[in-house]
Amino acid sequence: MTSVITVPPSLDDQTFEHVLEQLAPLPVDQKILVDARHTRWSSPYGLTALLTLGQTRSERMSFTGPETEETASYWQRAGFYEHAEKVFEMHGHVPRPRAAASESNVLLEITAVARSDDVHDVVEKIQAKAQAILVNELNLDPMATMRFAMTLSEVCQNIVEHAGTTGWVAVQTYRYRQRLGRRVVVIAVCDAGIGFRKSLESSQGRKLSDRWDDAMALEDALIRGVSRFRDPGRGQGLAGVRRYVGKWEGKLAIRSGTARIAIVPAWEDDVPLREGLPAFPGAQVQITIPERVVQR
């Protein structure tokens, strides 16, 4: 018998947890249909996390996409279906790519990252579009384009160095209605690899404390700059990302295993640490940078 996992109408980092809650009790070889027919909107996190979902089961899951033409078409332009066809058994209507259908909100279509060369390609691609959007539309400092690309590079490298599998990255802008009421640019980088805890455990000679779990691994990596590699230059990538996000009054959230850590700015209600979430492999990162309000 096939179990149906219902994707919420609005899919983002918070509501994706409902997907995982439905998935958690099911055996790994259970036949599953991921049903997104009634989904009307998804953040880039939602789309990339859905793809990682498709990597996590021994039995290939089935997927059915949004029924509304507008949503399906947007997901197609964001690059979702191109990758979804490789990880899911597709059911129902799959919109075909149309020529010259680029989407102005999409700074970077969903892109697979597995090797160092992929990170180079991502950085080359983003630079072309980032300047216009970050500086002209989000009022960020012109140097922000460089820092933004550096941020993107570092979070993508986490996949190459730590995940041990293909992950996905996407960058989009949209209006963030919850409290903020401003435009944001969002980077989502998701993989279903080994995750932070196992990555840090693989460090030779590392002593693990009694309270060693996913939350502590995330704290070590993000707050204390710990890396599984011993040389002194390691662990700077996430520290640099954290610094930039702080400068932009942005938000950084990382979910791995059963925990989620966040650097939460004043405009957001989120909690800094969540534990006891449904287990999910790998690491899922979301960076949200708000439009800067220009004082007149």
Binding site: S116, M150, S153, Q157, G233, Q236, A239
Partner: protein, 186 residues
């Protein structure tokens, strides 16, 4: 005689990794570029001042800054002995500098950075006492321990020790006349 060597990092990147890239991102890229620089330096005459030029590099991320600047300078520093190679970094903008500074802090290193107008500054970690002596060298062009003593009123032995430290860290060179100067001005 001090030899002056210039290494265009962007050319090294294009020659060793991909001729289409202008961004220094990812560790494997940084490691490849550093190894090429190390090989090139191994063939150069000494003593030399090696300028590492980032002018044509669009982006330098933390990982690449660590592989290229951090590990290169750290290897020379840890080799010990009398310094025969001095480094100067050129062509960096603010975002490059942020990555380089973060890396230098981790390794407890400092390096001289030259801007487009030829002005130099120190970037990285160095205690305040040594830093002010380095600034004196920059200002005067050449100093001996007694100049430092005269300027700051510290015992001459302490002044000599600070100059020795700056020399050991490759931030000044010793001249034949007994004074010290900045490497690129030697």
């Amino acid at each position: 005689m001090t030899y002056h060597i210039a290494i265009d990092v962007s050319s090294v990147l294009r020659r060793t990794v991909c001729d289409l890239y202008s961004n220094l991102v990812t560790r494997p890229t940084g490691a490849t570029v550093r190894k090429a620089i190390e090989e090139a330096l191994a063939e150069q005459p000494e003593p030399n001042v090696t300028v590492i030029d980032f002018s044509h590099v669009t982006l330098l991320d933390f990982s690449c800054a660590d592989e290229i600047v951090g590990k290169l300078l750290d290897a020379y520093q840890r080799a010990g002995g009398t310094p025969r190679t001095y480094f100067l970094i050129r062509g960096v903008h603010d975002a490059h500098l942020e990555a380089i500074e973060a890396v230098l802090e981790r390794y407890d290193l400092a390096v001289i950075v030259q801007d487009d107008n030829g002005a130099v500054k120190l970037v990285g970690t160095l205690d305040d006492g040594a830093r002010r002596v380095w600034h004196l060298v920059r200002q005067r062009g050449r100093v001996v321990a007694s100049d430092v003593q005269e300027e700051f009123g510290d015992p001459v032995e302490d002044c000599s020790r600070v100059l020795d430290e700056l020399f050991a860290r490759r931030l000044v060179v010793r001249r034949d006349d007994g004074g010290v100067a900045l490497p690129h001005a030697s």
